[in-house]
Amino acid sequence: MIKWFLQREWLSVSVVGTAAIIVFVSIDFLFQGPLAIGPAALIASSLFFSRRWPYVGTALVAAGTIWQLNSVAAPLVSGAASALSLLLVAAFASSFWRQVAVIVTNILGILVVWQSTFGASPVLREFGISLTGENATWLTFLLGSTAVVSVNSLSWILGRFLITRDTYVGTPLDRAVITHTQAKLSLDVATAKERLSIVSDLTDLLIQRISAVVSLAEGAKFASKRDPESAIRSLDRIESSAQSAQSELRKLYDLLQKGADLSAAPPNIEDLGLLMVLMRELGYNAKISVDGEPFAINEGAQLCVYRIVFEALENVKKNSVIGADVTVDFYWTAEGLQVLVKDNGIEAARRTKTSTVEDLASYTVEDDVDALVKPITGATLNAIKERASLYEGNIEVTKVPGVGFTLSAMFPHLKAVAGE
């Protein structure tokens, strides 16, 4: 169902909205009379808007329910449409509107229950239920309220569950991430297994050598009582055996150290391609370009550059809306490197809120002044500045008014400092 709403936005809401109006309004008209048509139609029509404009859908539910409270004074079957509307809001709206919708729908639902129990609603009497005492009235109100909140909450949870399942579970992105992780883990396990086998062999040799040293020492101790000369000969062999053991121990040490390096193999500049693919999968228009002739740099410098770009992209993910453009440009010179990470997060965010080209292009004087005088700071920025300074680099982050942010990492002497 969620797929249908995603792929056929207007068709789906038109079908569901029209069906809701016909069914719910007809039922309410039959049971409550002509007075119910207006509020029922308003509540049911919220389904036309909840997918695209959650605030309109929620407002219609609120208006219809308030009208119902003032005119019909009895619960409407159309109330079910408000739960459906909430489901759509939960699935498609932003976090803020999801919260607003669930609060508003629950409050209105509780008000309807209040009117049905404490008010002059004839609905309970029609079912032959008479609330004789105050306790019975309160109990009925509490049970009714609990039921309303439960149904609304279930709708909300179902909406979140469906959209989450559709967006993430089993999607190409999900599968790509799992496959990538699995492949990486398999490689790690294979490497570790191989290494363990070598460690086992080396340890075996080491035990043998140490056993020989112990055996010779024991022999020398026993033999020295009868023949001191033999003890000196034994010492020579002990020395040689101990040296051999030390050599095996050194091999083992080297292997374990190499293992530590391998297991923590740092990412390098080439891995940024994968990062850009990930950004695109997440919905950003990410591009990477290389200008000039790249030269080989050591692992530490590669990690530094990777880290800078990684943090810049993390910042884009945190502050920019889905659909924003992100570019990573590498400019290699004969001696150095400049990396520019640019995004149009501000522009993209504004685009989602405005409809005219003029609005889109405009930015205020305050924006301009802020961009010029307000320094951009942060712990992450300080950390990457420190990293860059290790390679005589510097980092600058600027806000482009009305567009977004630009991070510039300059390494003017990278070849001299970290070239290979």
Binding site: I207, S211, A212, S215, L216, G219, F222, A223
Partner: protein, 225 residues
């Protein structure tokens, strides 16, 4: 009569053998008559050397010491060789002791027990003394969580004994010497030896430890008469 103990060593490491040689020969009673690094070479020479005790290192080239003991035990049974097998290892474990004894070794000595233990065990083996008693072996099997399993060959053997023979057999298996069982039951020693020989031949075993472990694993209760 010459009291020298003729010892053979099979060890992949020449330095370890050199150390052992110094320790053993320092006693003045032990002579190293055979020193082999490859187990195959030892198998070729084994029956021709009159070795009293053979030290078999657990770590060999191409096979383990326990595997070599298995093959040597077959030769011992077929050729009637009486060499005692002593397995040596850098570190010991109950599993190693069990496997070695089942394979036909008479004892296991590890390097951490020290050279004195090696000499004492070797001398003790030469005098045909059993290194583990029946209760210790039972405990070993129990510690390794080895389940008892019906053994038809053992059952046939026990059924072939009359009550008196079974009593004599049980007393020997539980660790008593032939002399003491003979005296206690007023029976000739050769008769007891014959019973034991019959059992060893039927079960194709070379050592008393093998017989004891086989009976423990079979779960047969020899009873006390």
């Amino acid at each position: 009569m010459n009291n020298t103990i003729r010892v053979g060593v099979v060890n992949a490491d020449a330095d370890i053998t050199a150390g052992r040689k110094l320790v053993l020969e320092s006693t003045g009673r032990i002579t190293l008559v055979l020193d082999e690094q490859k187990p195959e070479d030892l198998l070729d020479k084994f029956e021709n050397y009159l070795i009293d005790v053979l030290l078999v290192d657990q770590r060999l080239r191409g096979m383990s010491g326990v595997e070599l003991c298995e093959r040597l035990t077959k030769i011992k049974i077929e050729q009637g060789v009486e060499t005692r097998l002593l397995v040596t290892a850098a570190f010991g474990s109950p599993r190693l002791t069990f496997d070695a004894l089942v394979a036909g070794a008479n004892a296991v000595v590890t390097q951490d027990q020290g050279p004195k233990a090696l000499i004492e065990t070797l001398v003790s083996l030469n005098s045909r003394k059993q290194q583990q008693n029946f209760e210790e072996l039972k405990k070993l099997v129990s510690n390794l969580d080895i389940d008892a399993k019906e053994d038809p060959v053992v059952q046939v053997l026990l059924e072939s004994f009359d009550e008196f023979e079974k009593k004599l057999f049980a007393e020997i298996v539980s660790g008593n010497s032939i002399a003491s069982v003979s005296a206690a039951n007023e029976v000739a020693g050769y008769r007891i030896r014959k019973i034991m020989q019959r059992a060893m031949d039927q079960l194709k075993l070379a050592t008393l430890e093998q017989l004891q472990l086989r009976l423990i694993q079979s779960g047969e209760d020899l009873g006390k008469n």
